[in-house]
C-alpha cells in the first residue's frame, strides 16, 4: 500500500492517499478491538465493558463518515486514475465493511446490555467458548485481510477468502451444539435464540473480512471478484503461487 501512496510528482497527492490509508488502518484497529471487547464482555458478563463498546460505536461511525468524505474530496480534487483510483474505491468499500463489523460488535454488546438497559441472561459456558473461538478466528481473518490490503498481497488475500469457509464450518458446528442443548432442555430455547444471534454476528465479521480480502484482489489485479465463486478464487490462487 505504501507503494500506492508514494511516488507522485505532486507530493500532496501522496499525503492525501497516505491519509486515507492511515484512516483505514486506524478504523480497522478500532473495530477489531470493538469485536474483541464485545465478546469478552459477553463471556465475562461485564456490563461496563459492553457499554463501552456501545459508546465507542460513535467513533467507528465517525471514521466511516470521515474516510468517505476524504475519498470523495480526493476524487474531486485529483481525478485519480489507474491503481490510485482502484485504491480509493477499495478503501471506500473496505471502510463500509468495517463499519458493518462495528455494527456486529454492537449487536453482541447488546446481548449483554439490552436496548432497554436491562441485563440479559448469562450465556452458557458452551456459548462463551464457541463465541471466543469464533471471534478469535474471525478477528484473525480481519487482521490478515487488513494486512493483505496494506501490503497489496493477493496471495494472503486469497488465504483469507479460503479461511472464511472454515469459519462457516465452525459456525455450523456451534449451531449443532446449541441445537443439541435445546433438545435436551426446551426451556433453553429463548437463550438459544440470543446465542444464535451472537454466533451469526461473528460469522458475519468473517464475511466482511472476506469482502475486504476480495477488494485486495481488485486493488492488485484490477479484477472485480466480489461475486466470483470462492472455490474458483482459491484454485486460481493456488495455481498462481505454484507458478511463482
Amino acid at each position: 500500500m505504501s507503494e500506492i501512496t508514494e511516488g507522485h510528482t505532486v507530493k500532496g497527492y501522496d499525503v492525501d492517499l497516505a491519509g486515507l490509508r492511515l484512516g483505514l488502518l486506524e478504523m480497522g484497529g478500532l473495530v477489531l478491538d470493538q469485536v474483541q471487547r464485545a465478546v469478552n464482555a459477553l463471556a465475562s458478563g461485564d456490563e461496563a465493558l459492553a457499554r463501552s463498546v456501545l459508546t465507542r460505536e460513535e467513533e467507528v461511525n465517525a471514521y466511516d463518515v470521515r474516510i468517505d468524505e476524504d475519498s470523495i474530496t480526493l476524487i474531486a480534487r485529483r481525478q485519480p486514475m489507474g491503481s490510485d483510483l482502484r485504491a480509493i474505491i477499495s478503501i471506500a468499500r473496505a471502510v463500509s465493511d468495517l463499519e458493518r463489523i462495528g455494527d456486529e460488535a454492537k449487536k453482541i454488546a447488546h446481548a449483554v446490555v439490552r436496548g432497554d438497559g436491562k441485563r440479559s441472561t448469562r450465556p452458557s459456558p458452551q456459548l462463551a467458548r464457541d463465541a471466543r473461538h469464533m471471534a478469535r478466528f474471525a478477528l484473525e481473518m480481519l487482521r490478515d485481510g487488513l494486512d493483505a490490503f496494506d501490503r497489496m498481497d493477493a496471495t494472503a488475500a486469497v488465504e483469507v477468502v479460503r479461511r472464511d469457509l472454515e469459519l462457516n464450518a465452525e459456525f455450523q458446528a456451534a449451531l449443532r451444539r446449541l441445537l443439541t442443548q435445546v433438545m435436551e432442555d426446551p426451556r433453553r430455547l429463548p437463550a438459544m435464540l440470543d446465542a444464535v444471534a451472537v454466533l451469526k454476528s461473528l460469522e458475519r465479521v468473517g464475511d466482511h473480512a472476506k469482502n475486504i480480502a476480495r477488494y485486495v484482489l481488485y486493488l492488485v489485479e484490477g479484477r472485480d471478484v466480489r461475486h466470483e465463486d470462492t472455490a474458483v478464487l482459491i484454485a486460481e490462487g493456488a495455481r498462481k503461487s505454484a507458478q511463482s
Binding site: 510528482t9 481525478q79 489507474g82 483510483l85 482502484r86
Partner: protein, 297 residues
C-alpha cells in the same frame, strides 16, 4: 488544464521532435528493455480506415517514432497520450503527411488508408489532407470572413457547382461544428473576430467542409477555457458518428472523457493501446500506470 497549458508553452519544439531524447532512457535514467518497449494491447481493429505498420520517423539522426503499428478505426475517437517528446504529435502528423513539410524528417514503414499507401508517389497530398483533415492547438482561422474560412476548401476542391451549393456547404459545416447559431447573422465578419473557442469550432467547420473521413486534432483545447473545451469535447462526440477522430492531448482527463481507444507513447515507442475504459482504470504496462497516475518525472 493549467498544467497542460503551462507544459505546452515550453514544449512545442519538443513536440515537433527537435528535442527528442536519444536513447530509450526513462527520466529516472533506467534503460528500457526490448520487452518494456513492446506494445501491450491490440493494435489492430476490425473496421480500420487507416493502418500504420512498422512506422519509424527520424528527425536528422533523432529516432522520433520507433516501429509503431496502429490501426485507426472508423467512427471512433482514439486519443494519443504521453509525455512531451514521446512522439504522439509526430505520429499524428504522419497520418496526413504533415511531416513532409519538415526538411529533416524522414519516415519509413507503411501507412495505408482504405488499403492504399498514402506515401505512394502517385498520392496527391492536397487530396490526402482533404480526406484527413487537421485541427491545430491554436485556432488558426484565415484572416478572412467567417463565410470565406469555411468556403475556401470546398471552392479549391471544386465541391460546389454554384453559389447556392456553396452556401449550403458553409451552413451545414457551421451547423455540424455547433457554430451556426452564433454566427449566422455575421458571416461577413472576420473569422479572427470570434472568441478562441468559436475560432476553434470555425476551424473544425473548415475541416468538415471538405468532407474528410478522418479528423486529426493536435491539442485542440489547450488554448481554451473549460467551457469552450466542454463544447469542443461535446462536438467531438457528435462528430464521431461521421468521422474517425485522432486526438493528441496532454490532458489525461480529456482523453478519458472523449475517446473510446487510447494509445500511450513513450520516447517514440507505442507502449500500450487499448479501450479507454480499461487504460484509465487498469493499465497493463508499468509506464502507462506511472504516467496516468502522475508518477512520471
Amino acid at each position: 488544464m493549467n498544467n497542460a497549458v503551462a507544459e505546452e508553452k515550453t514544449a512545442p519544439s519538443t513536440e515537433a521532435g527537435v528535442n527528442v531524447k536519444p536513447s530509450h532512457r526513462q527520466p529516472g535514467g533506467v534503460d528500457l528493455t526490448p520487452q518494456d518497449r513492446r506494445t501491450v494491447g491490440t493494435v489492430t481493429v476490425d473496421n480500420a480506415i487507416m493502418s500504420a505498420r512498422d512506422v519509424n520517423v527520424y528527425y536528422g539522426d533523432k529516432h522520433a517514432i520507433k516501429s509503431v503499428n496502429l490501426d485507426i478505426a472508423r467512427n471512433q475517437v482514439i486519443a494519443m497520450i504521453g509525455p512531451s517528446g514521446c512522439g504522439k504529435s509526430t505520429f499524428l502528423r504522419c497520418l496526413n503527411r504533415m511531416n513532409d513539410t519538415i526538411e529533416s524528417a524522414r519516415m519509413t514503414g507503411v501507412i495505408t488508408m482504405d488499403g492504399s499507401d498514402i506515401y505512394d508517389r502517385r498520392q496527391d497530398v492536397v487530396q490526402l489532407r482533404a480526406r484527413v483533415g487537421m485541427v491545430f492547438q491554436k485556432p488558426n482561422p484565415f484572416p478572412k470572413s467567417i463565410y470565406e474560412n469555411v468556403a475556401y476548401g470546398p471552392r479549391i476542391h471544386g465541391l460546389a457547382s454554384d453559389r447556392a451549393e456553396l452556401d449550403d456547404i458553409v451552413q451545414t459545416s457551421l451547423l455540424r461544428a455547433g457554430l451556426w447559431e452564433e454566427v449566422k447573422d455575421r458571416l461577413t465578419n472576420s473569422g479572427t473576430s470570434l472568441s478562441g473557442g468559436q475560432q476553434q469550432r470555425l476551424c473544425i467547420a473548415r475541416t468538415i467542409a471538405v468532407n474528410p473521413e478522418v479528423i486529426l486534432m493536435d491539442e485542440p483545447c489547450s488554448a481554451l477555457d473549460p467551457i469552450a473545451t466542454a463544447r469542443i469535447e461535446d462536438l467531438i462526440d457528435e462528430l464521431r458518428a461521421s468521422y474517425a477522430i485522432c486526438i493528441v492531448t496532454h490532458s489525461m482527463q480529456q482523453a478519458a472523457r472523449v475517446s473510446q481507444r487510447t494509445a500511450y507513447f513513450h520516447l517514440g515507442d507505442l507502449i500500450e493501446v487499448g479501450e479507454t475504459d480499461r487504460i484509465f482504470t487498469n493499465p497493463r504496462h508499468k509506464l502507462t500506470e506511472d504516467y496516468i497516475t502522475g508518477r512520471f518525472g
